[in-house]
């Protein structure tokens, strides 16, 4: 799973349609420093020298402020909550967004698992794609655990969108 970069290059070169159905990971195009799959789902981009796109780095930071107190460091899961690095790969993007926004409950005799809805929380909602992209990058083993050492610069558009969202 360590070749999103080369796939990206091939995709640009040939524009082959089968790339789109291959996975929900591979970057097909970029826009103002954000990367997307052929299905227009946000995704990561890791350069050969390990430089990560801004959203992946930003997602690392936001994840470790908002999510890791329940889901453990690096999305690896904990005694309390599941490993989100897998959820981001296994779940459809829109389902992932729905669960983060609205929460979900699994409460039974043997399980008391409650995910809160973060729909009202700008610290999460303004960075939802960042967190998703970061978790997908780690869950697909495109990046190892820990803080990404090198990152792309934050684009002006990302900065403007962030300011507008955070108010």
């Amino acid at each position: 799973m360590n070749y999103p970069v080369s796939l990206f290059a091939i995709g640009l070169l040939a524009g082959l349609p089968f790339i789109a159905s291959a996975d929900n990971l591979t970057a097909a195009y970029s826009e103002d420093g954000r990367y997307f799959t052929d299905d227009d789902v946000p995704t990561y981009n890791i350069a050969e020298d390990g430089t990560v796109d801004w959203l992946t780095f930003s997602g690392f930071r936001r994840y470790h402020a908002e999510c890791h107190v329940c889901h453990g460091p690096d999305g690896e899961g904990s005694s309390y909550a599941p490993a989100l690095k897998n959820s981001a790969v296994d779940m459809d993007y829109y389902d992932f967004v729905d669960v983060v926004t609205n929460g979900r409950e699994k409460v039974s005799a043997s399980e008391q698992s409650v995910m809160p809805g973060f729909g009202e929380n700008p610290n999460v909602m303004c960075y939802l794609d960042d967190i998703y992209v970061y978790l997908k990058a780690h869950g697909s083993e495109a990046i190892p655990r820990g803080r990404p050492p090198k990152k792309e610069a934050k684009s002006d558009v990302i900065r403007e969108d962030e300011d507008a969202c955070m108010g």
């Binding site: 402020a65 460091p73 690096d74 008391q112 973060f118 610290n123």
Partner: protein
């Protein structure tokens, strides 16, 4: 009448203190065959006079009986034993069982509160609960959703209920309560949700609120007497709870109160510590942020503060000050003094005069602590009592969006809530500790009621250049601030210790071991692996002429979240990533009480 005399005469305070003490609980605590309060006694010494199990025979210890709680979450605190009855609590949904020890542990009653599961996700770091309390024939439970419930100890019937906080704005509870005199004194959690911390006293018989003291805010909220409440011997003055904050930040200022409480009936004072100021981004809250991170001594009857000591002004690392205050009477420089000893998250062990609030000792109880060079101990200095912050490790000075690396200890502290024990025989404190450091990057966050309000990214890893483990179990001399011995542990020690007159000290480990070590030397005398990791506190009792040791297993809490997958050190380079032990390789979820005894 009673309040008048208490306020007007110091002598009356002493007399009244004796006369109106909760005589029932005091006598229950004085009986070493019982474990009548979570903290062992009002002094939080966690010391038992029982010596049937001792350093010579503890190696023969066996499991006597076990009990499954039916809940698979982090199990903190311990059971109580009053007479023939044992009271066992669980994490959310906070079930309480009364077991008949004279009848093979038969369940006499079970109480299961109905709580909205929406409280679960606002409990930062697992749905733990540190146990029930007993007084005057009642069991007191402080539920996750902050409802305080008094139950008939014989039947489990509800005597009264009081709602202490509002989970919708992130107010929750994990702590036990302090039953003292005619009051039940309770705290609150939610420092990572912008909750303003408070301590509240309820009438033990009716559940009516008697007083509430906030950690920050106007003088009428924080219950100070500006002229007579002191900080290091000087009056705090007017508006001390707002004048070190910018704007209205104090209203979401943190300083929550989720630790252990102690009490000195002769002084009529109760003692506790306040938590971190919120947010974790120090740039968003300029000033000392009083009275977060503070040791507090308050009048039991009125809540009015006698003295404060702020350990970590303007916190930059999440070093909550909530850990227990252990009360002792010991000699310092040839003079017998009434002492208070506190092992803070910030890595400093403090010894104070608990009557006056004078600071006597402040020393590192883990040599790797590096964010400070130490506390200014000169009463004539401008910075008396303040820790000198090392610029390299200052997340404030390095600024927002800068990753400060190599800070020791990590945010979970050199010690978290897991309580230490004190043996009057050895005059040593036995302290479960964390040996973990961190990188910390603060950034701007916005506040939404009931949502996490953190504002920093952290990476934690075992203390570099040490034994590679994440914990130590140490013996500490609180009169001079020195480590007597230190036992390395693979994981943080997250279990409360027990010291006994049998010269044995007990503690649990995150892998699930119950360990017994020699009180003088630390030599390991016994260990047994229980079904799940231990974050509970060791207790002891006697039943039918036999001494028992009890411990709750059930991994979880902060330790279960942070250590489940193992830690990595981003500064080690890629080769070392994943090189540290993962708790999930040693233990899994559980919920069990294991009781030990010597063979017949």
């Amino acid at each position: 009448m009673r309040k008048l005399s208490l306020l007007t005469s110091g002598i009356a305070v002493c007399v009244a203190g004796m006369a109106f003490a909760n005589d029932d609980l005091v006598s229950q605590m004085d009986n070493p065959k019982q474990w009548a309060i979570q903290t062992g006694d009002y002094k939080n010494q966690r010391y038992s006079q029982l010596d049937q199990i001792n350093a010579d025979n503890v190696g023969d210890l066996q499991v006597a009986w076990t009990f499954s709680t039916g809940v698979l979450r982090g199990h903190e605190g311990s059971p109580l034993v009053i007479g023939d009855m044992m009271y066992v609590h669980t994490p959310f949904p906070n079930i309480v069982y009364a077991l008949d020890l004279a009848n093979d542990g038969k369940i006499v009653w079970k109480y299961e509160p109905k709580q909205d599961p929406d409280v679960i996700p606002v409990m930062c770091c697992d749905t733990v609960n540190r146990g029930v309390a007993y007084a005057e024939g009642k069991i007191f439970l402080h539920q996750a959703d902050t409802k305080v419930v008094a139950l008939d100890a014989k039947t489990g019937d509800v005597a009264w209920e009081a709602q202490n906080g509002d989970p919708a704005i992130g107010e929750t509870n994990t702590a036990t309560v302090l039953p003292v005199k005619d009051k039940i004194i309770v705290g609150i959690s939610g420092g990572e949700f912008g909750v303003r911390g408070s301590v509240t006293a309820y009438d033990m018989n009716s559940g009516e609120q008697v007083w509430r003291a906030y950690s920050m805010g106007p003088d009428s909220d924080i219950l100070v007497d500006p002229e007579n409440t002191t900080h290091l011997g000087k009056p705090v003055g007017a508006d001390s709870g707002t004048n070190t904050w910018e704007g209205d930040q104090w209203k979401i200022g943190g300083g929550t109160t989720w630790g252990w409480y102690s009490a000195d009936l002769d002084e009529n004072l109760m003692y506790y510590g306040t938590g971190n100021p919120s947010t974790w981004n120090p740039a968003q809250r300029p000033g000392d942020n009083r009275w977060s991170m503070t040791v507090m001594a308050r009048d039991i009857d009125t809540g009015v503060a006698k003295w404060f000591y702020q350990m970590t002004p303007h916190d930059e690392w999440d070093y909550d000050g909530i850990n227990e205050m252990i009360l002792t009477e010991q000699e310092i420089d040839g003079t017998e003094r009434k002492l208070l000893t506190h092992f803070d998250r910030n890595g400093l062990g403090y010894t104070m005069d608990r009557v006056t609030g004078e600071l006597l000792v402040a020393e590192k109880f883990d040599p790797v602590v590096n964010w400070t060079t130490g506390v200014d101990m000169d009463p004539n200095s401008e910075t008396y009592g303040r820790p000198a912050v090392v610029a390299q490790y200052s997340t404030e000075q390095n600024g927002e969006d800068v990753n400060s690396t190599g800070i020791c200890p990590a945010a979970l502290g050199t010690k978290d809530q897991q309580p230490a024990a004190y043996s009057p025989k050895t005059q040593l404190m036995y302290v479960p500790t964390n040996h973990v450091c961190m990188d910390y990057e603060p950034f701007r966050v916005s506040y939404t009621a009931g949502q996490p309000y953190v504002g920093a990214t952290l990476a934690m890893y075992p203390a570099p250049g040490s034994h590679g483990g994440m914990g130590n179990f140490i013996a500490w001399d609180n009169t001079d601030g020195s480590i007597k011995w230190s036992l390395p542990e693979q994981f943080s020690v997250w279990s409360g210790a027990l010291a006994t007159a049998g010269d044995v000290v007990f503690y649990g480990t995150l892998e699930g071991y119950l360990k017994a070590v020699h009180a003088e030397t630390g030599e390991e005398l016994y260990k047994f692996k229980t079904p799940s990791g231990i974050i509970g506190n060791v207790m002891t009792y006697e039943q039918g002429g036999k001494q028992y040791i009890g411990i709750l297993s059930g991994v979880g809490g902060w330790a279960g979240i942070g250590l489940a997958a193992g830690l990595t050190n981003p500064n080690d380079g890629l080769g070392a990533v994943g090189g540290y032990a993962a708790l999930s390789d040693y233990t899994a979820l559980g919920g069990q009480l294991t009781v030990f005894a010597l063979p017949n």
